[in-house]
Symmetry: D2
Subunit: 478 residues, 4 copies
């Protein structure tokens, strides 16, 4: 089978990537553990995945890798994992926000450069990728993928010529990168983790026996039975080696941060703890805030699964209105699922989501969702509740309205595609057919992040870094 790939898309928001790295100082193979680590991060990207490993005891720079389109459980066979021999490795799951959805763009990127071999896994989006690409191209660089990671790799390679160690090269390269990146780099004898100075995307450190682990989210540590050590700080680079264990470089650390609040609201798994704040708690708080700020008399609070559930619970706890379940979600949708055509009687929403009529019939329902992007799905879900007999449907959104696009690693689209842009809340309410509508207040966001600084660009149009002059999303798609 060949690889002319088709894009699989739906209406929701998408995170672009999850990264996972491991270095076993005792020499045990890591591929299989990386497999389970990626499996735990599968929610961060379902289009492609890959694992690259190296044996620090073997011939220097010998890297084995395996990548493919699809879910972790579809791409890797037992035989693949058996072949991936090595005690240092890096893995990646991908959903494409920039760069086409093709096998060429699957990560980790494995490459030969001046000092041997390098494997790279990246979560984020560079704002200055086009400039950097153009600059490199003017020097005669060639690009075989459309992903930012290739730009990063180039900079590391160029710096490596002038520096005496891989970590120095990574550190120097970081100085040129503008945007969001949580990065794992595997050099022949070191595993390096780095997070952009604003800390847009998460990255944490774990430990299991005599092995260190880097992962996008702490849930991946739980899955493999590793203990959580700490988060990589915004701007920090950590270098893992048997000689020095974990070494920290904080040259780029700064006071101003820009964590993505949507990691808490939607992207991350609720059982993850990011930068000291539990994602689950964050959602409970969002629900409580909504109950305080947008109260309504009703019989039942329900969440749109999965991310709306915790917020719904928070709303229920605060308001005293009973929590319930209104939806059954069909989780068997895979990459090859054949979607209903517009012309058919079946609809995409109904195939994936069904209403529990007995739970909602005759009731005034408060429905909590994490966000409204274009509004098309909300419209349908409200209708389904009403068809199922709900007397009233009050929609509460556990985030402020989206007004601006995101350039830092999510696929929040341009303003003209956002239902909330240039519309009043009343207008949106009418479009989606709800009896009332309430959003989380912008000033509540600090409560969700435990007071940590965050990016609010998609709500305010003011990002911690200037947005790119040109559209970086999809430009190089081939």
């Amino acid at each position: 089978m060949s690889d002319v790939m088709e894009h699989y898309q739906d209406d929701g928001l998408h995170e672009e990537c999850g990264v996972f790295g491991m270095y076993d100082f005792d020499g045990h193979d890591v591929a299989r553990t990386i497999y389970y680590g990626l499996f735990a991060l599968q929610h961060r990207g379902q289009e492609s995945c890959g694992i690259a490993v190296s044996d620090t005891e073997g011939p220097k720079g010998k890297v084995l890798s395996s990548k493919g389109m699809g879910l972790v459980n579809e791409v890797f066979t037992q035989e693949d994992l058996d072949k991936l021999k090595g005690n240092i490795g890096v893995g990646h799951v991908r959903y494409s926000t920039a760069g086409a959805s093709t096998r060429e763009n699957a990560q980790p990127l494995v490459l030969n450069y001046i000092k041997g071999t390098l494997a790279l896994a990246h979560n984020g989006n560079l704002v200055n990728a086009p400039e950097l690409r153009r600059e490199l191209a003017h020097d005669g660089a060639i690009f075989q993928t459309t992903i930012d990671s290739e730009v990063i790799a180039y900079h590391i390679a160029r710096e490596r010529v002038k520096t005496s160690s891989a970590e120095e090269a990574v550190q120097n390269a970081m100085k040129k990168l503008v945007g969001s990146y949580s990065l794992i780099v595997m050099s022949p004898r070191k595993l390096i983790g780095a997070r952009d100075p604003f800390g847009f995307r998460p990255l944490c450190i774990g430990k299991r026996d005599n092995a260190y682990v880097l992962a996008s989210e702490s849930c991946a540590l739980d899955t493999i039975g590793a203990e959580f050590v700490r988060d990589v700080e915004p701007g920090e680079m950590v270098v893992i080696s048997p000689e020095k264990g974990i070494e920290s470089h904080r040259e780029l650390c700064q006071k101003e941060h820009g964590r993505c609040v949507f990691e808490y609201i939607y992207f991350a798994r609720p059982d993850s703890v990011i930068d000291g704040m539990s994602v689950y708690q964050s959602r409970i708080i969002a629900g409580r805030c909504l109950a305080k700020d947008s109260p309504v008399d009703a019989d039942l609070v329900v969440g749109v699964p999965e991310s709306g559930n915790a917020a719904a619970l928070g709303y229920s706890l605060e308001s005293g209105i009973p929590y319930g379940t209104a939806f059954v979600k069909n989780g068997y949708v895979g990459r090859t699922f054949i979607k209903p055509k517009q012309s058919q009687r079946e609809s995409s929403v109904r195939v994936k989501l069904n209403v529990l009529k007995d739970a909602v019939a005759g009731k005034r329902v408060i429905m909590i969702d994490d966000s409204i992007v274009r509004g098309t799905t909300s419209d349908r879900i409200v209708s389904m509740l009403k068809e199922a007999g709900a007397k009233e449907v009050h929609v509460r959104i556990s985030s402020p309205p989206f007004l601006y696009p995101c350039y830092f690693g999510t696929d929040v689209p341009d303003s003209d595609q956002l239902i909330a842009y240039n519309r009043t809340i009343e207008e949106i309410r009418q479009i989606i057919g709800a009896d009332s509508l309430g959003y989380l207040k912008l000033e509540r966001l600090p409560e969700l992040t435990g007071g940590r600084q965050f990016c609010q660009g998609c709500f305010t149009g003011k990002w911690p870094i200037d947005p790119p002059k040109e559209d970086i999303r999809g430009e190089y798609d081939a």
Copy 2:
């Protein structure tokens, strides 16, 4: 690729099958709608699936079919569905309780017999299959599968020789079948649905435009946008044809029924309504009963996903103790998922389920599960809650203890493998490490089924039909 298949197994309980049939009198193709219908029934069987269709306007008896190992979304391609032209069809999803897990055993069974072609989809287990098989074999029958459906097909074929219509043959065959069966038979011009006299397994009728639908559960009707007409009654046979619409045959209907209460407790999707009782309501009631009968002072009620959630909600509603979420389930496990080995640090339970530490730490937790089979999983889950900081873990089971095996279409194993057999509740509590343990009282079961008669064999050892003299489960596995 060839088909030497391996068995994929886990610890839980399994339903064996889901069936779906459709007859479009207007002549529209039905394969794609059957695809979505099977998708809605995927929870009833994930090992193999298949669709067979026929064109009632085309050459008589021309049946096209497509089957394979795996999930609905893995087995069928767009191209497959495009080729399955026909306005009458039947589909099946399978988990094997009897018969090996091989492609040969995938359904629907398509066969040529005296009167042309027949396709058959079956959910259930015949108690007298070995005798029937032996009897047929003595007459020189050959068996190419190890599934009961082949025995049923033989009987229909033999009866058809002596009768004047397919429905008469099916009706006569039913008289010889002892056990559980919900059956859909597609003859060249008719779609026939039948349910055993005790009604062990569900089967219902739906309608969409000028098409009739038969399905294991009503959730499949919702998914395709069909309206629910009614359940097929225990012992009833319905014949769908353009001439007469739906025709009912009730010769085998009887007063005594034996519905499987576990359809309500565990197997069915909560959004289904079976024999007039909502599965969701049934679970809520189970939770309420537990709260009444096994009260305990605690801070939080949680369900083991997915089936424990509704019962937990019921417990919360009745007791006033707040409902919460304690677990995150990783739903990306597919047929090809590589399971952790015993020797590895990763464990099967932890890879699929993680605890929300922030939700349970320092709390007294009531954990609701639908059942305990061997007890190995419960043991691990209780430990995980405690490791996550739960002060107390009180386990409540929304069904009575399993003491006896099931011979009617589920894989409840023999007594010696059941933790509750020959053990007191206190002994079980100690084994699973809970602070207290309570089961649903047997006398509460009628409340769960809306007062309808049901089978309680796995709790009492008294089944509506005598169990088979020999073990029917797996005997013919090749």
Copy 3:
């Protein structure tokens, strides 16, 4: 992936099947050797293949099998072969002459019957299959495939009820089968080979160390390093068991035979020896006869590959006209090859066959082919030679003209599709554009078979057995 199969067809003649069985008395696994045996017989069928094995030391009747659509090298993986543990086994390669090309029809057929398990591989076509099928159907039999082998299996099963051994049952069943069959039956402890009384299809016996082998052609014995023991005689049944080695049953042997002369002319591999006559020699003789009976003055004799080459050599040896090569055949066409559409500039013939211009330009060429069926391919090949600069093209056919269909295991079509039916040789010559045309004389055929009796039905319309009253080819296709 599912199995809605498409028929892959071309213009030539096709053999329907090859069979291979092995019994290792020392207990070694046979699957891998069967794999190479089938590989040697691949020319006899490229649509599907399968292997079934049993362990005579293991639990009685435990049969493992693996089948699939495609070539031997595509269907079986190393993992498949590793799983097929057993010291007795049977394999099959198939091209469909009767029965649709679907996975359901792939052989060996594995079935449970009164006395346990049976695996069956069959090459041939029963003339009375429809009657037998109807008869069985009237007794309530069901058919899950459209292949004759299922009819044979039924008869064996029915006889087994009344007899004391598998071989007796096979022998009795053979008495009811009319038509062509070379059969290998694997019972739990015996391997049985049988050939119809006319010996239409070949079957031979080999030996390697302490193992016996049955194979359609002797080339398969060479491939696995086994020695040739002898042919199974027309009408003979041989029973292989550790107790008695090879036991022969000749009850059905008769004087009148009906070997297929096309095994020598076209189907079999030239390195096979069938019933004591070398296929290669047979073709050399055919060429010599053509040279004697249809001489022509020319510069070069060439064969249409592959089967025409040996006859061309014979023509050259007899006539003294130099032998040459005129064509290059592209052998990389597999089951999934995308054929040129009529509307495209590329043509099916040219994609597979190219002319060596330097070999033929300016020359008078004698082109030897094994047969002309519909004439469409011959037409193109003659044109290609002329376009390449051949001054004259004299076509010589190493068989008499096809005038009647074949009902005994090849796909020679009905008379109205045969170019030679109702046409003079001169008319055919004009259609194919040759400068002269000569066929092998009917009276020469005995020389090709070493004087053995053969079937000449496709030339004379007089078959050793009456043709079926109804068309048996494709009737049951589903």
Copy 4:
């Protein structure tokens, strides 16, 4: 499925690549024609293949590509070809001589660079690739493959910065490349073909209607029904564009050439004409020369298929000894074929090749082969002939003895692995067990190439270009 690839290897010689490009000025899609073109070149590489196309009327630089491991007929589906919309394209088949056999190394290479997108297909080996790679690496280049084509692409990209057109960049890049290359470059609006100054590898131009074609061999032109225009000359670059048709650049053309004589003796298809010399004629001449220089009294001349056949015919024509066929080759070996293990009774040679006993028994046989590399296969084949009853086996080789490795695009190994190195012909004869042995005389080679200059490095150790200082074969394998 993922892509941890395994190397499939056998004993013979291998060509590394075939290239095919097409530009349809009328705007018709070319992917399907490229498919047939690659199919005709399949003998030049069976490990991987790929097609890249672009629509010159569409958005500039939008390239679609499809690649995979395996044969042309395995890699591309109908759906793939349908998606590859574009009227300009390039294709590639690959066998790896340098660079590992992984999907990453499959060609065409598609890349973005300073001026948009470029696709590149390359046949050959650069002698200075390591130096060029090192040089580029010192400037910070990164390499994602281990193939020379990436080095070429880099040079084109770097030149493009300084030049005003793609062809100028290609021309300048060529000046830095030392070694063998037949190259097809697709820029957004031009198709460029180039051949190294020595012309090691072939490349020719064809035309069909209003489309131009570039192909490794003329047989690919025949297959798609294009007419042969002319060969690209050694050192020439041709630029195909709708404005100027074919434009020639001969700046690098020189008098000294180094055609690979093994293209004639072994690699190319006999129906190809390379640089004005028919491959078929070349082999006939080789056979005639052998008959003149190494005569022997015998009964039969046979060729080792396929490449030995034409030489055997030449020997027969010259000597008057009858030509015959001694071997039957099994052509169904695909990429996934499971090879016999050393420990098994089956052998790799016998599985692929069988002797026609009747053709050779009792005869004195002259066996013509194209070359002897390590001698292991020759040894077996001679034995097989003797076992089949040949009285004498006289081996004649249609090339001089291999004494030195090849660095220019074939896999002739190092001297210490070559049987002829440091051995007399008599010693070799004894090793392979022949009754006599003769090689083609070195001074005969000009006759085979029609007097054209050629490389005789593998016979003399004197290559037209100095061999690389370091081993270029396999160095960068990852």
